[in-house]
């Protein structure tokens, strides 16, 4: 069992994660999903760095991954604050809601025909109601003596 195949396969897996993250950040419009895609790209880079660390037999790649983790934590904190602020201003998590920030010579993103409702995606399983609903004294429920 030579380590070379594992190193190469680690590089391939890192490349796949990075490419998937790139597709996600290019295609998706939800801000949260875009940040998840950015984290996926960071994961791909981490896997590549650890593979190179294994290949070279030193700690350099693993050190870099530790700092990637640190920077990812900082980035997530600041980015999620921005996402919360953006949601507070527009009420949507849509990146296209901020397209007034685009360059003046770029065309506007227009949503063409959307499906009216995605009813089948919102079907969750429910328990059938059974028995008799007990009478609840609301005042008593609010003032409990023991919890």
């Amino acid at each position: 069992m030579t380590p070379a195949p594992l190193v190469l396969d680690g590089l391939v897996v890192g490349a796949m994660l990075f490419a998937l993250g790139l597709v996600g950040i290019l295609a998706r419009r939800n801000l949260i999903v875009m940040f998840l895609s950015a984290e996926l790209m960071l994961q791909g880079v981490s896997v590549s760095l650890v593979s190179w660390s294994r290949h070279h037999g030193d700690w350099g790649g693993q050190m870099l991954v530790i700092f990637v983790l640190t920077v990812a934590a900082c980035e997530a904190a600041v980015a999620l604050v921005f996402v919360l602020q953006a949601f507070a201003r527009t009420g949507r998590l849509d990146s296209a809601a901020w397209q007034s920030l685009r360059e003046s010579n770029l065309p506007r993103v227009v949503d063409h025909e959307l499906p009216a409702s995605d009813a089948e995606a919102l079907q969750f399983p429910r328990l059938t109601p059974a028995g008799v609903q007990p009478a609840v004294d609301e005042d008593e429920a609010l003032e409990r003596e023991h919890v």
């Binding site: 590089l11 996926l40 593979s51 294994r54 290949h55 700690w59 998590l93």
Partner: protein, 303 residues
């Protein structure tokens, strides 16, 4: 099999795999469709994605034995499938859950690659802290039902093609690293020969890495070098006395020694960065425009 023939076959399989991956991503990404068409497209896309993954496995795992390789195969499949599901799932909450699965796969990959501490840290930091933060923000900011912008994408075809082209270029590059002057099928014997040739120079380190004999061969991988003589002459000089040995008992201790020894300044800088990010996020979140202060205040308090 001649090297050229093997490379061209591998290249063809790789091209088909990349094409299948692009088509599968395009079919799976939300494109504003609904109903039967969408379901059919998703089924076909999943089928194509499975075909692409199988082809990638066929190109990537032509060397080595079972054991470590099989574990790596399983965890990397978990990571890649979780990542693909993260970016194609409509609901962002499910997307975050799939991302957690992808993180578990990545942690497994790091463990197999010999980075125990990083595998555990990935689970703790990402799945334990960052992902929970994402879920909290989703809980605070997600409108009821599925939003319209979750059911359409920006240019799904172009994005999938861009990702596939990038992946194809990267894997082609990695494949060229692995090919080198000897043919792909002759690599194990070549590696054994080189390891035998290099063994006298590595004798002092072998006692260090005696717990895992495979680790002694780590810098001797001729497949990643352009010419085998260069590899055999350069690897003893670049060899560090403490390779990341998976089975060494003091793996984490050595990692910590390296981190707080050679990289002490970087650790301090990372601490400053964390502090700045903390203060900055608090400063940003507490600054709301006056006209929206009433609306934003409960959200700010709960954030």
């Amino acid at each position: 099999m001649t090297p050229d023939g093997g490379l061209s076959i591998v290249g063809t399989v790789l091209a088909v795999a990349v094409g299948c991956a692009a088509a599968s991503l395009w079919l799976l990404l939300p494109r504003g469709e609904s109903g039967l068409r969408e379901r059919a497209a998703r089924r076909f896309g999943m089928l194509l994605g499975a075909v692409a993954l199988g082809l990638f496995v066929a190109t990537g795992h032509r060397l080595g034995g079972v054991g470590e390789e099989a574990t790596f195969l399983v965890v990397s499949l978990v990571a890649v499938i979780g990542a693909a599901a993260t970016i194609v799932t409509r609901s962002p909450v499910y997307s975050a859950i799939w991302f957690a699965l992808a993180l578990a796969g990545v942690a497994g990959v790091l463990l197999v690659l010999g980075a125990q501490f990083l595998g555990v840290a990935t689970i703790v930091v990402y799945a334990g802290a960052i992902l929970v933060m994402f879920l909290f923000v989703l809980m605070l900011a997600q409108p009821t039902g599925m939003a319209s912008y979750d059911r359409v994408s920006n240019e799904p075809l172009l994005s999938a093609v861009a990702g596939a082209v990038l992946l194809g270029l990267l894997t082609l590059f990695i494949g060229r690293l692995s090919a080198g002057p000897p043919s792909c099928c002759a690599v194990p014997t070549k590696a054994a020969a080189l390891a035998g040739a290099n063994r006298p120079t590595n004798e002092s380190d072998e006692a260090d890495a005696a717990t895992e004999p495979a680790a002694a061969d780590t810098p001797n991988t001729p497949a990643l070098a352009d010419t085998p003589p260069a590899a055999s002459s350069s690897s003893p000089t670049t060899r560090r006395p403490s390779p990341p040995d998976m089975l060494a008992r003091d793996h984490v201790a050595r990692l910590g020694g390296e981190l707080f020894g050679r990289h002490l300044l970087a650790v301090e800088a990372a601490g400053v960065l964390l502090l700045v990010a903390l203060i900055g996020s608090i400063a940003i979140v507490s600054r709301t425009p006056p006209e929206e202060r009433l609306e934003a205040r409960p959200r700010r308090a709960s954030a």
